[in-house]
Amino acid sequence: MFNSLSDRLAATFKNLRGRGRLSEADIDATVREIRRALLDADVAVPVVREFTRAVRERALGAEVSAALNPAQQVVKIVNDELVEILGGQTRPLSLAKNPPTVIMLAGLQGAGKTTLAGKLALALKEQGHTPLLVAADLQRPNAVTQLSVVAQRAGVPVFAPHPGNTSAEDTDAVIGDPVGVARDGVGEARAKQHDVVIVDTAGRLGIDQVLMQQAADIRTAIDPDEVLFVIDAMIGQDAVSTASAFAEGVDFTGVVLSKLDGDARGGAALSVAKVTGRPIMFASTGEKLTDFEVFHPDRMASRILDMGDVLTLIEQAEKAFDAEEAEKMAAKVAGGEDFTLSDFLVQMQQMKKLGSMKKMLGMMPGMAQMREQIENFDEREVDRVQALIQSMTPAERDNPKIINGSRRARIARGAGQTTAAVNGLLDRFAQAQKMMRQMSSGGGMPGGGPGGMPGMPGMPGMPGGGKKSRGKQAPKKKVKGKSGNPAKRAQQEREAMQRALGGGGKKPAASGSAFGIGGDQSEAQDVENLELPSDVSKLLGGGR
């Protein structure tokens, strides 16, 4: 039911083939799909309205009519607009000239402020700063305890003079004096020569007058250099009212998107950036203290549009895969050796480490046409296949040809399945093996014509093979064109983080200054090279 924008756009564009340019009606249809995609991603209604209007205007302009393939152009326009809004004003954390730099965190309850305080502290500490955490959330029961534990894990000191709410009660009454605690915290940092102070405040609703006033008071009292607004990536339409309430109340200077490791599409990012005009600076992507990164506008744009996210996939794969094993395997494939069932078993086990297979497939561009199959794919099937392979002897795994009738029966019994399942597995494997051989010899996917796809035997109802090969070829090329990319990217990432945290003092001239343009722009350029082919491939794939 929730098919992606690329699917729907592909369907829309199917009718456009053969026509050189987009008519107004075509654009209307496209814009309607985009609108829906944005709404499904939880982008706020007013923002969607404005955004689609802008896209429409640009699409109707000369830009498109002059272009060779207008359909791709529309998607590019959308992507550009998104990246522009999301990353228009990226900038590093601004550090105070005279330490301590004061950072204040604010947001709704449960947005992840306390956890983020720890992550930020750890990241700053790794950049050579000496952060101090201040527990000014006296409202939620045991919030102070939580912050202390988090601080301990991050290995940074915490300033918590008030035990906070330990009376078991979430009350409406204000507890203690968070303003005083925050002020004393900054004083403490000055006295003990900490150069960064992170003030964790209580979660509050935008309409809670008393607590919003309190937050404003804290802000006045400590005069922070940065006020970070922490917002949950899965928030819905309420993002706008919340963000504007906080913008008014505490006048935040930057946004942190939390729980981005979930599968929410995170349209809230767009809403907040558009409505408040404040930059989104960081993303919080997990429960560990190290799961904290600089915000990537480009990736977010793809995610909101549900365009697949190859970079994230590669990153995850890198984390989970045993590099040595992968290399061995790659060499084997490239060297023309046969791919055996034991190789497959190893690979499958590594794939499982990546988490849900469905999710991963969803992240791959060009997989859109297979969505139906992906939806119906039962994760447990992987376990069943694994059980089958594990019921074989090593000799059988290396040479499936020796598997005769009685062996089949034994394997089926061992795996608790039927002989038919064993036969099915062996059949498909033989075909897959053939495909691998072709691939290693040809150096690429077998030819694009329908019927030339022996490698996709397991896809019932695959609408023609040509489509598939195209979809697969594109991402491969893409990475090749940018070989060594993951490593480079990791490097960039580190640099970006350093810049963002204001730690780039060593080479301030180029990147540290003017809104971090130096490195970010090159990254943005990469994105353009990177992102477009995937869109193109999808459109091609779907439109055929």
Partner: protein, 382 residues
């Protein structure tokens, strides 16, 4: 190597799915179930009419039934339109448009749609609701936007279904002649307010004179057990917890239920750690918790805590948690803010899981039963 890494992943995926789906296909046919729940059809009173009542019944139909009182003429047009609206034939549709011009402008409709979208209802349900509303408006020949709003309220109410049983199942089950405590498992993603809900729930239960044991199976988040214990101690409720962080949550949950059973407690409420629904490992852990609990006593309720600010992702959350833990009810928290929580409409429609409780604020007793009418009025901004 990086060149090949890609190849490697791709091959893996293709192979796994290829091999997998070979086995899937036969299974699929068996496993598919018809889950297509649709909106309730427009008013059904017409169905009671005699079947032969075509356009002819205007004059002649009455002859057959002597005792039948002729329908008032005003209603006949409505019935005709209604029949046309349902006929589904293009001719019928065109006739309908001719007979009943839509008196409302597109702007009016857009406004109505936006109301629904702003409440996080989602595009799919909003469109369907709007479609059925349009049909109804045509059939009834409504002209006033305000009257349309009333109709919309009706439609929404019908979807939310106020007659649904929303009480918590707190009867103590009897297993092998032994009366076990009713076990409530509270699940949800991070930061929705599970622990707070458990605390508040304990207060409600104690107020109803039930004995309660709390299980702090959130062994992950720093100080979560402390937080729960503080809630419990306020109302004199025992909290079963592990003495260290990172213990096996299933073990803690099991201990809690066992303690409850041993003390002849009425209700055991188990708090779990927040987990994002796309983390396979954590969802497996949740599956284990519920499995292990059922060894000691059956689960009476599995409550999914949803944050009212959650957008379309709420649907995904509800789906996955239902698959893993069999959610029986929803607690909608943080409804005291500006968020409307419209996603639960979609969830209830799709999965049939009703909202049972709502969290209305930070006070310890701000947990209330769900009220369908209030909720719908909230969505419509009333």
């Amino acid at each position: 190597m990086t060149d090949f890494l890609w190849l490697y992943i791709l091959l893996g995926v293709v192979l796994v799915v290829g091999l997998g789906s070979a086995l899937v296909v036969p299974r699929l046919r068996r496993g598919r179930s018809d889950d297509g729940t649709t909106l309730a059809p427009p008013p059904s009173d017409v169905e009671d009419e005699p079947a032969d009542a075509g356009a002819a019944d205007q004059g002649t139909g009455t002859a057959t039934a002597v005792l039948e009182r002729p329908e008032p003429a005003a209603g006949r047009m409505v019935r005709l339109r209604d029949r046309l609206a349902r006929s589904g034939s293009p001719l019928g549709a065109r006739l309908l448009t001719m007979l009943s011009r839509d008196q409302l402008t597109e702007d009016d409709w857009d406004e109505i749609e936006e109301t629904l979208l702003l409440a996080d209802l989602g595009t799919g349900p909003a469109e369907e609701l709007l479609e059925s509303l349009r049909t109804r408006v045509r059939v009834l020949g409504v002209r006033e936007p305000s009257a349309v709003r009333d109709l919309l309220r009706d439609e929404l109410l019908k979807v939310v279904d106020p007659t649904l049983d929303r009480s918590l199942a707190l009867d103590r089950p009897v297993v092998d002649g032994e009366t076990k405590p009713a076990v409530l498992l509270v699940v949800g993603v991070n930061g929705t307010g599970k622990t707070t809900t458990v605390g508040k729930l304990a207060r409600v239960l104690v107020a109803e004179d039930r004995s309660v044991v709390l299980g702090a199976a959130d062994t992950f988040r720093a100080a979560a057990a402390d937080q729960l214990q503080t809630w419990g101690s306020r109302v004199g409720v025992e909290t079963v917890r592990s003495d260290r962080d990172g213990a096996d949550p299933a073990a803690v949950a099991f201990d809690a239920v066992r303690t409850g059973a041993a003390n002849d407690t009425d209700v055991v409420v188990v708090d779990t750690a927040g987990r994002l629904q796309n983390k396979a490992g954590l969802m497996d852990e949740l599956g284990k918790i519920s499995r292990v609990i059922t060894r000691e006593a059956p689960l009476s309720e599995v409550l999914l805590v949803l944050d009212a600010t959650t957008g379309q992702n709420g649907m995904q959350q509800a789906k996955v948690f239902s698959e893993v833990a069999g959610v029986t009810g929803i607690v909608l928290t943080k409804l005291d803010g500006t968020a409307k929580g419209g996603i639960v409409v979609a969830v209830q429609r799709e999965l049939g899981v009703p909202v049972k409780l709502v969290g209305l604020g930070e006070g310890p007793d701000d947990l209330a039963p769900f009220d369908a009418e209030d909720f719908v009025d909230g969505i419509l901004g009333g």
